[in-house]
Subunit: 530 residues, 2 copies
């Protein structure tokens, strides 16, 4: 065969009909100025708490500001709920069970943890004070049958398998609570539905369980700190669903609670963790780390100028000042500003491309179906850790040798901001409200996940998330890496001048005003992790 | 935030609960010895051609051997079909239209190409002799309305959009022909179905259009050479469907035609191109190229020991001698044999893991849905070329400077064979027949795609395939790269001894007997490409 391969023949047209790089960079839609808002978003109210209208760019959104001063009203807001069952001990379970218990101390509402009989988590729940003896720990279906509010916090794959039995075992008049719209997405895939005449609510903290608990503890002395949450009322059987959801959110310590639907939540949440929150940032770091090393940087420096730069100064600046302030405030020299601009405009297009693909795959149900499929394979192919590769080994060394100073690499900064903006624009374009966009694209990154990554590494963070997030991050990180390598790095290497129009869009983007509003509602406590 | 991050606090458990590397390597299923066979697979027959039973490992499978000596029987086998409409001018269209026309020369059966009015492909069809003047070229729906057999070869995304109109415009008694089960997969996703009382058949050449044409031309003087095809009869309205399908396949020049179903075809085909045929080999080369360079090899040598090794000596050996002969024949020294073994056993597990995931995503309809979604994005985000990265730039230089000698790298060889075997085992495990497994996992690689990659590069090959294949390759190559980087390279670096049991499974695998049977039916002509 080899000799014949070498012979000169005609077989294919001389050039593949593939569009070039540049054309792909031009096409992206600017989201409409007015977000398509769910009509119910402006109308919801509480009979107990004061809901506020806050300015969000060209519009207003209703939010409930949290705080420990609201705890005395929890009993009223929870209505007839006397027994809360927290089912599961994964990412959210331990945090929510403890926060709820602490917030409801001194009331007649009890919090009981329900787990599979024989689960190794029983011991962990006992270690923080739940016990079978005093009735605050039990077999999950026993707990479900006795609870007025069932907070179903088992893994998504487990929810998909267990939900029919959960529905059957709900007490009459009980409220089903979820912290994720995943189950709704799964029901849409399978054509099934929630049980009729039952409250179905959701409170979805916009951060991993560890930070939900950590910030709650840190905020004890300052009238609260915590992770923002969205809430949704999927079914309101008795007219009390909204206030039960708000009570749940306030008791978790959410600084602000905003309105969403379960449909909107599962789309933005599963999407967000695959993009800038986990998968995107992981892939970006691998890509840029490789580039910098190939350009001649030492591996340690390359890690400092990618991962450390993102989880350190970039995160701090965005958290406290806003995304645009990375350019205006953090990047100092004119030369670096030019480099930032070039990196931003070279990476926005490819980022938008892959982010849009990810959104479509989530919205149509594919990602949910893949997660369920993966659950069926995990006995044969358990998920492995990702922190075995060179990048993360170098990272562990760099973290151990930190001296308190951090480098700001303008290229890394440009790519990071562009990917964040690509995610923001995609969510706005698909009709998500500003509160959801800001939380899923910015606040969850800089106030919940990046601090953990900073302390323990991106790979550690990925390996510590929910199975759905871990699977998604594994799946999409390589895609982000490849598309940046194939479509952004060649543009940077050519050192073309930046696309000024695209960059102006960034500087003038209405998300900056939104972030300002969110910043005013932000608790004064930063999460502290090592 | 930075200062608080640095303060020592407790927040997460000290270790993420992630299983280690080794456990993931152990779990894979050995497919059952007897393939679950479709009961119709043993019963189909032709009223015109002699169908043979050929030995395939522990069983037999029915196949039709092709050849130019069968062309005189084409008119009889095509039955009442007088007008064949070939719709589309993508990968398969040009090849099939020309092969059909050439094979039917001198008969009263005409071949007409149908294209969208104003399509730029009109000119290309005219260049090879189809013309409006003599009635062999026309607007696609005009051609569909007049044809007795409609070979619908437009892109998968176009099929998904156009099929209702195609169904409406079929002439009464006409046969609908497809070269891919994609439409069936799409109909399953949407809940739609084929028109009743219509023959629906499939002939699916197991290679890109360019090789279907190229080998047909090369085989003119030796009673034929070509690309094997599978056929399926999804609906047989008039009892003639099987013979029409076989006539179509023989006229394309298929050396052997085997039975499948459209369901089985779309699963194995969409899966195969995402794995060893395109996506898998692309990702593997990127991973190993990076490893070899990082180990100190020059970039040119790294390309020679990855891509050139695969598309050169490995491809030739597997094509002419079989997969096991890479170990027995191609790898010479004892030292290299040990290296091959280690690479094989370190990479089989991770390859099997990702290959199983890919199969699940194809079988459940996700991949088809993603392709449709992508089609809706391509006006804003056209697919870019992938051959802009360093690996492929080095590759172009290496190809230009070839001196006829090729290096056999035992690690590359071990990883390649392991990925091929992982694909084979997954397909057998899911009940695909040996003919389909051998063609989708081995023959299409070494006799159709790899020779093109050898001549023009892997990236070129990817960019020249169908949109469905190109999308899939872009999607899965990075996944293969990452899983090998995360789970195979660390094992190689530790230099552990090989898993002897796993390697014995490889050497004693029944696929080797199957490949021997296939080799006996293989035409004596190798594809010649530059």
């Amino acid at each position: 065969m080899l000799s014949s391969i070498r012979s000169l023949t005609r077989a294919l047209p001389a050039k593949a009909a593939a569009p070039g790089l540049v054309s792909a960079m031009r096409h992206y839609a600017i989201p409409p100025m007015t977000v398509k808002k769910d009509p119910r978003a402006d109308k919801w109210d509480s009979e107990v708490f004061n809901v506020m209208d806050v300015p969000m760019a060209e519009t207003h959104e209703r939010v409930l500001k949290g705080g420990r001063d609201l705890f005395p009203k929890l009993t009223e807001s929870f209505g007839g709920v006397k027994k809360i069952g927290v089912i599961g001990w994964g990412s959210q379970g331990p945090a929510q069970a403890q926060n709820l218990r602490d917030s409801l101390e001194g009331t007649d509402i009890t919090v009981t943890v329900g787990l599979r009989e024989g689960s190794s988590s029983m011991k962990l729940a006992e270690e923080v004070g739940f016990s079978k003896e005093n009735g605050t720990l039990g077999e999950m279906y026993d707990v479900i049958r006795e609870s007025d509010l069932v907070c179903l916090l088992i893994s998504d794959a487990a929810v998909a398998h267990e939900y029919p039995k959960v529905f059957e075992n709900l007490k009459k008049g009980a409220t089903l609570g979820l912290s994720h719209g995943f189950l709704l997405g799964h029901l849409k895939n399978t054509g099934d539905s929630f049980p009729k005449d039952t409250n179905v609510i959701m409170v979805a903290p916009k951060g991993v369980g560890a930070s939900v608990r950590r910030l709650y503890e840190q905020g004890k002395s300052v009238n609260g700190a915590g992770i923002n949450a969205s809430f949704a009322v999927e079914q309101d059987a008795d007219g009390k669903a909204t206030d039960i959801a708000l009570a749940w959110s306030v008791a978790l310590g959410s600084p602000f609670t905003f309105y969403t639907t379960m449909d909107s939540e599962f789309k933005s949440d599963i999407f967000g963790e695959r993009c800038i929150l986990l998968g995107g940032v992981h892939g970006m770091i691998e890509c840029l780390f490789r580039k910098y090393v190939s350009d001649g940087m030492s591996k340690e420096d390359a890690f400092k100028q990618t991962s450390e730069c993102i989880t350190g100064p970039l995160t701090e600046t965005i958290s406290h000042r806003g995304i645009d302030q990375v350019y205006h405030h953090l990047i100092k020299s004119d030369e670096d500003k030019v480099a930032f601009k070039k990196a931003y405009t070279a990476s926005y297009g490819p980022s938008r491309d892959i982010v849009e693909e990810c959104y479509d795959d989530v919205a149509c149900g594919n990602e949910i179906k893949s997660v369920i499929n993966a659950g069926d394979r995990h006995d044969r192919f358990p998920m492995c850790k990702i922190d075995v590769t060179e990048t993360w080994k170098v990272g562990a060394k760099v973290r151990a040798a930190r001296d308190g100073s951090f480098v700001v690499n303008p290229t890394t900064a440009g790519v990071y901001c562009a990917m964040m903006m690509a995610q923001i624009d995609t969510l706005l374009d698909r009709g998500h409200c500003y509160s959801e966009v800001a939380n899923e694209s910015v606040i969850e990154a800089v106030d919940s996940l990046n601090p953990f990554m900073h302390a323990r590494g991106v790979a550690y963070m990925v390996d510590s998330c929910s199975v759905t997030a871990r699977l998604g991050s594994r799946k999409w990180a390589p895609r982000f890496d490849y598309i940046l390598t194939e479509q952004c790095l060649p543009v940077l290497d050519e050192n073309k001048s930046a696309d000024e129009k695209l960059f102006d869009d960034f500087l003038n983007h209405r998300i900056h005003a939104v972030m300002k509003t969110c910043g005013e509602m932000r608790p004064s406590v930063d999460i502290a992790v090592v």
